[in-house]
Amino acid sequence: VSGLVEYTLRLGDDALILSQRLGEWITRAPQLEEDVALANIALDLLGQARSLLTYAGEAEGAGRDEDALAYWRDERDFRNVLLVERPNGDFAETMARQLWFTSYQYELYDRLRASADPTLAAVAAKAVKEVAYHRDHAAQWVLRLGDGTDESRRRMQGGLAAVAPYVDELFDPDGVTGGLGAVAVDPAALREPSERHVDGVLDRAGLERPPEPAHVARGGRRGLHTEVMGYLLAEMQHLHRSHEGASW
């Protein structure tokens, strides 16, 4: 697999799996406005995933389209970070995940607009506007929950602690990103601006950065996922796989 295919799958899988998780909130959100907002974010991410998986399939040249890549790869072949596959937890935990992921993804797409690969640059140019909204949505909720009631502050602090082990992986460079030169964005370069944004939000919300976790979880980029991933894929893929070759 070429570095470009691998890199594009990473971007696409992050978007696809987070979209799947956010979709689980629909009909369960704390208020109707959030059913709308979370569905909207899930839709944007799904749109990004479709563009990216389609492009990964083209770059690969083996005839796999977006559905072949989403529905027929097994767990070990998914390249998303572990953060996006985490179960939703409560609304605070979902917002903690959103705060980190959108901060990362915003900085990523912002730079990827200048990618030497015109398709990635075009996807990023469209997506960065969407993600600016997602990032703002997360920040607004972290502010409200951090500076709301005692319970919401406690839960928000708990949500931040719950996702903390999954943050570092976002910023891991490796041979794939290193080998792509100006096509890819160096994940390590995104750490400082992402953390600055997160810290700014936490500061305004009166929240603390959680203590260093005992374990830093990584492995998603190499297909080493957490045990929840298999269940997510079973649900997502079962119907499609049950009708091999069918069109929908």
Binding site: A39, S152, W248
Partner: protein, 322 residues
């Protein structure tokens, strides 16, 4: 008394001229109550209706269909928002209406008390249930209450889009594999009569209370057609579409009647309709439990948002004199 009569006169003058009643206009209490009940039930139906469809978001069989379904369910939440907002112009808050839903005092459309068992049900709901909803709702775009009529214009436009998407989803199945075709026919078999029942009980004079209710709504310009008229419109629209799909509507009596210029068809089982309305449907309990628990689980979030808003409103006010 005299003032009240004058107010009623102004109201009736607008109604008689087929004009629009606006929130600040005078209106009879019964008109207001009737509208609140209808708009609330309509709003509740949108948000409960998210459940049977939401049930398939995670399992949609292609990313394109997943996106269409997500967008559709999102639209339904949006419809719920418009309609609660429209009802709020009549002086009743969304919280009050949700409370009436959760306590069982207000109803939602009984169609959502049936389960979605296969992917084809998503297509069938779009085609039949949204189709029936549009048939019911298009006349409401000319409803005498302005905010409701305007909400319905926007809603009907989106519903009609959903209906085409539902039809197209079924078409993909009926043009697909044998298993897909069977799935589509099975969905039609299960959703046909519940969809017909969406138009409510028949217009028989024996059911006097209902007849009176319909009549009053028609006088007020809230309702434009009787239940049976709307049901006939729906069948007339839908039967030829089933032919295009190559599916069989599960009604041996269904056939074109040249004399009437309409399709003949069998009525749904109205006893079943009344049972399901009164709580005896496959999913009544599940839908309500899901809705109530989502609301309860989100209470701390809404409280936090209120507390935050109050704090920051106060903070801003305090800044002004300083």
């Amino acid at each position: 008394m005299a003032a009240s009569d004058e107010r009623d006169d102004a109201f009736h003058a607008i109604i008689d001229a087929d004009g629009r009643i606006e929130p600040r206009d005078d209106m009879p209490d019964a008109y207001r109550r009737s509208l609140v009940r209808q708009m609330a039930q309509h709003a509740h139906s949108e948000i409960i209706g998210m459940q049977p469809e939401g049930n398939w978001i995670s399992r949609a069989p292609s990313l394109r269909r997943k996106a269409i379904l997500l967008a559709k369910v999102q639209d339904e939440a949006g419809h719920g928002l418009y309609l609660y907002a429209a009802a709020e112009t009549l002086g009743v808050s969304r919280d009050e209406l949700l409370e009436r839903l959760h306590s069982g005092k207000q109803k939602y459309s009984s169609i959502f008390n049936y389960p979605t068992l296969t992917w084809a049900d998503i297509g069938a709901i779009g085609w039949l249930v949204d189709g029936a909803a549009i048939t019911n709702q298009v006349p409401l775009t000319r409803c005498s209450y302005g905010p409701y009529a305007r909400a319905m214009v926007r809603i009907c436009k989106e519903e009609s889009f959903h209906q085409r998407q539902g039809f197209e989803a079924l078409l993909a199945l009926t043009r697909g594999t044998a298993a897909q075709r069977a799935m589509a026919q099975d969905a039609l078999d299960r959703w046909w009569y519940p969809s017909l029942a969406m138009f409510g009980p028949p217009d028989t004079p024996s059911q006097e209370r209902t007849a009176t209710h319909t009549e009053q709504s028609m006088r007020w310009g809230i309702k434009r057609f009787t239940n049976d008229e709307l049901r006939q419109k729906f069948v007339d629209m839908t039967a030829p579409q089933a032919d295009v799909l190559g599916l069989r509507i599960p009604d041996d009596e269904l056939r074109w009647n040249d004399e009437r210029g309409h399709y003949d068809f069998s009525d749904p089982d109205f006893d079943e309709l009344f049972r399901v309305i009164s709580g005896d449907g496959p999913c009544n309990e599940q839908r309500m439990a899901h809705r109530v628990s989502a609301h309860a689980d989100g209470a701390w979030v809404r409280e936090a948002a209120s507390a935050y808003a109050a704090k920051h409103a106060t903070a801003q006010q305090e800044q002004v004199p300083a």
